[in-house]
Structures are given as structure tokens and as C-alpha cells.
Amino acid sequence: MLIELKNVSFTYMPDTPLAQQAIKNVGFSVRTGEFVGLVGPTGSGKSTLIQHFNGLLEPLAGEVLIDGRRIGSEISALLVRQKIGVVFQFPENQLFEDTVFKDVAFGPRNLKCSDEEIEERVRSALKMVGLDYFEFKDRSPFTLSGGEMRRVAIAGVLAMNPSCLVLDEPTSGLDSIGKREILTHLERLNKEHGLTIILISHDMNEIARMVDRVVVLNEGKIEFDGSPKEVFLKRDDLLKMGLDVPEYASLLIKLNERGFDVPLDLFELNEVKDSIVCALERRSR
């Protein structure tokens, strides 16, 4: 297991009237190479949960294991942060250097890499997010477009050479081109580089299309954990929590209820279209 949480609970400002339990007895693990979608309504504890993955927050109860080792006692926090890269919401707000190169190099420099190694890492990190090294390395990050800035910020985390990338709403606030670019690169990182990815998103279409496994968090507890098909079949429960269901899944479930024989686990436009056409042909026959 790459990441393993055992009965983790966390409370903000404990022992005060402002105390707020954000995570309640969560058990959860991620295997190497998985692409996990983490969804849940606002305030369900997603952002709090991911901060446990790289030791930014210590659980009040329970334990967090990385590669089977306890954060803090058996594996150092710095090593954990190298292994588990966390990209927070609006990561472009963390850019601070005057060139893209220096900003992406911040992580490897903190890891005390040699100059050659740093250059190599920056080059490959920028490539992983689809930015041309020579075109971008000397530009100021503040002159880039929103989508480019965000990709530079993600490259800054990738330059740590993590084996797992955790992203909190990486596409929020971007236009559709920016969104698509980030998502295709994430998909490639998972498929081609074997990077484990945990993706938080509100866009269920995005989640359904990309991930192998969906984890639903509600009021600090894990409500569902399974394949997109399994989870999105619980349409009514999800809607009750204030979550959406992918539009295609919604359509297919409704058609199924009306007696059309269509599979429920399709999340791509073409596949959905074909299956509906097939079902219609079968019926007219």
C-alpha cells in the first residue's frame, strides 16, 4: 500500500467552543498506480484529508502509513513530502520566483539536488505538463496565462519526483481549453509514467471519465468507495448529499428505468451514443 489511513480522526481547534471535527474515523488506502477520484460536498473534509497524506496535519487519533511506515516516527516528513506531491487549490498562488525555471526548481533545491539533477528535473517536469522547456524557462511566471501558471505550479510539485500526486480541484476556475490540457496531462502521467493520482473534483463527468476508483466523503466519513459504475449507481444517495452524477450516467440510469437495455458504466460520449443507438435498434426490431 502506498498510502494507508487507519481509523484517522481530526478536529480543528480541539477543546474550544470553535472545535470542529473534520475527519471521523476514516480508513482508506491507495495502491501504487491507482487513479482515485475523491469527491464530496463542500465542507466534507476532502482538503483536510489530503493534508494527512503528506504529514501537513497529524491525525488526532489513528495513524497514517506511507509505504507501510508511520509518518514522523518511521519515515521523515521531508521524505514523505517528496514521495507524495500535493497540489493545493489555485496552486498558481504559490508561485514566487522571477523565472519559471527557478520556481519549478524550488522543490528539488530544497531536496538538495545537484545543479545538473535540478536542470534535468525541471526539464522533465515541464515536459510532463506539456510546456516547452526552452520557451518557458526564462519567462516570469506572472506573465503566463491562468492555465499555464497552473501547469507551472503543478510542474513545481512534479519536480519533487513524487510517486503519488494529490490534486485539489486542479481545474477550477480555468477555461475549457485549460481544463482539458491539465486533464490530458494527468491521464498521461498515470498511464505512461505510472504515477499514482488522487484527484479531488466537483466535476463528476471529469471524475467518471478518468478515474479507476471513486471515494465519496460526506461529513468527514467515507460514504462509498468503489468503481465509478458502482458509486454512480447510488445516484439518489449522491443527489441527497448535494453531489452531482455524471450526465451520461444519469441519462443511462433513466433509460434503464424506462426499460431500455443499456449498460450503466459508460462515461464517454461516443460509447454512450453507440449503446443508445444499439438499444433503440434492438427495440425497433
Partner: protein, 267 residues
């Protein structure tokens, strides 16, 4: 990161109590009286009076003592420092010796009095912020400053600036926390290392923070202008401050106590 959640000084403690509901103007004026008294009083008897009064106030305000103590945490060092300096470096009648260091009677008395005064000072001031929300506080200050408008003191503008500043403190703390966590995730270390390395890491926090602040200020100005804000002239208010009977009573009791404390304190 943790440090922010442990800091209680200046925070509002949201419960319902006699003191929470009192007029903020009254609380501000009384605070000034109490502070003055603290500086006038010059012996232990006076401080006992004031301490007793504060004890009652804390009980009436329903603030747990642990919060008061936590508010004192940041000043422990200063208090200890004052104590030590006074104990050992005041000329006068010696009462104890520690090696080459001599404690004098005057030093002991002055040091303790000063420390007690300082601690009480912090407690009263934090009592005001524990029981008064920032909005009430600025409303109170604006109202108290209004008579000074005649001599061209921009009361409304000052209050508005304070409101905005106070409003942004939690946001900025949150933002600082977020950027810090993002940089720590990239291997930054804000807690150890030599001065040069720490300064370098601090830059990775300060630059994004400042960019954020300027952006926010710009957006706020635009939002205020879009809603036709043009200063305090003729602006009506949502909350109108009123002194109730209970408030007058609180004022009277406090003044009575303070007068007694001053008498006892000057004996």
C-alpha cells in the same frame, strides 16, 4: 501553522453573556478607565481589588480560564525578563543572594508590581476582544470618535479602515497557512536551518502573500465602488448602538470598584 490556532489574544469568544451584550462604547470607555487605574495603583492591596473585580468579570463573561491563560502565553517571556531584570539590577536593601547576584527588597517589590500590572493589562484588554466582535468594536470606536469630526478627525474613515483590517486578519492567516503548506509540500522548511536559508524560504511565503493582498485590496475597492460607497456622509447603519439599563449598572459598579481600588492603591 499550529501557532495560529493556539493564539487566543484578540479573538472573539462567541457565547451569550451579560458582558457580550453590553454596549461596545461602554466597554471601550471602561477599558480606558481600568487601564488608567492600573497605572495609578501602586501597591498590592490595589491590585488585589482589581484582580477580584476582573475575576468577577471573567465569570460574568463566561470565558473559561484556560482561554485567559492561553492569551497570556505570548507574554510569559517578557514578564519573566522584567522580573529578572528588576530582581537583580535594582539598588537597595539586599534580601537574598545567588552567587554574584543580589536580590533587593526594592527590586522584588518593583518587579512583582510591574509584572502583575502587565498581566492584568493584558487580561483586561483581551476581555474586551473576547466579549466584543470586531464589528461591534469598530462601531463603538466610530461612535466614540464622532464628536471629534468637528475638529476634522475622519472618524468614519478610520473606523472603516479598522473594519477592513480586522476583517482581513483571518483571511490573511488562512492564506498564509495555505501558501505555507503549499511550500512545505515542496520541501520548504520554515522552522529550522540557518538565517540565510530561513530568509530564503520566507521569501517563498511573503511574495505570494503580498501579491494576494494587493489583488484583494483592488477587488475590494472595486466591489465597494460598485455599491456606491462614498464615505460616511449620510450613510445609515444596520446596527444602532443603544445603552440599556443593565449597561448603566455595569458602568456604575465598575466605577465604584475602580474608585475603591485607587483609594486602596494609594494608601
Amino acid at each position: 501553522m499550529r501557532a495560529f490556532s493556539k493564539l487566543t489574544i484578540g479573538q472573539y469568544y462567541p457565547v451569550k453573556s451579560l458582558l457580550h451584550e453590553a454596549d461596545p462604547r461602554l466597554k471601550i470607555v471602561l477599558l480606558f478607565f481600568i487601564l488608567t487605574t492600573l497605572f495609578v495603583v501602586n501597591n498590592f492591596l490595589g491590585f488585589i481589588f482589581i484582580s477580584f473585580f476582573l475575576l468577577m468579570t471573567i465569570l460574568a463573561a463566561k470565558i473559561p480560564f484556560s482561554w485567559i491563560l492561553r492569551g497570556l502565553r505570548p507574554i510569559i517571556f517578557i514578564v519573566l525578563f522584567t522580573l529578572i531584570i528588576h530582581f537583580f539590577f535594582t539598588a537597595g536593601k539586599p534580601i537574598a543572594t545567588f552567587g554574584p547576584l543580589v536580590v533587593t527588597e526594592e527590586g522584588f517589590k518593583n518587579g512583582t508590581l510591574l509584572s502583575v500590572r502587565f498581566i492584568l493589562l493584558i487580561i483586561v484588554t483581551s476581555l474586551l476582544t473576547f466579549t466584543t466582535s470586531p464589528i461591534e468594536l469598530t462601531d463603538g470606536i466610530e461612535s466614540l470618535l464622532t464628536p471629534l469630526k468637528k475638529i476634522k478627525v475622519p472618524a468614519h474613515e478610520l473606523a472603516m479602515m479598522m473594519t477592513i483590517a480586522l476583517r482581513f486578519i483571518p483571511s490573511l492567516l488562512l492564506e498564509t497557512d495555505r501558501i505555507m503548506k503549499a511550500q512545505v509540500s515542496r520541501g520548504a522548511d520554515f522552522e529550522s536551518g540557518n538565517l540565510f536559508k530561513r530568509a530564503r524560504n520566507l521569501i517563498s511565503l511573503l511574495i505570494p502573500l503580498f501579491i494576494g493582498i494587493f489583488k484583494r485590496a483592488d477587488e475590494l475597492a472595486l466591489a465597494m465602488e460598485s455599491r456606491c460607497y462614498r464615505g460616511g456622509e449620510g450613510r445609515t447603519r444596520l446596527r444602532v448602538l443603544t445603552m440599556r439599563h443593565g449597561d448603566w449598572l455595569i458602568g456604575m459598579v465598575t466605577l465604584l470598584f475602580l474608585i475603591m481600588a485607587i483609594f486602596a492603591g494609594r494608601l
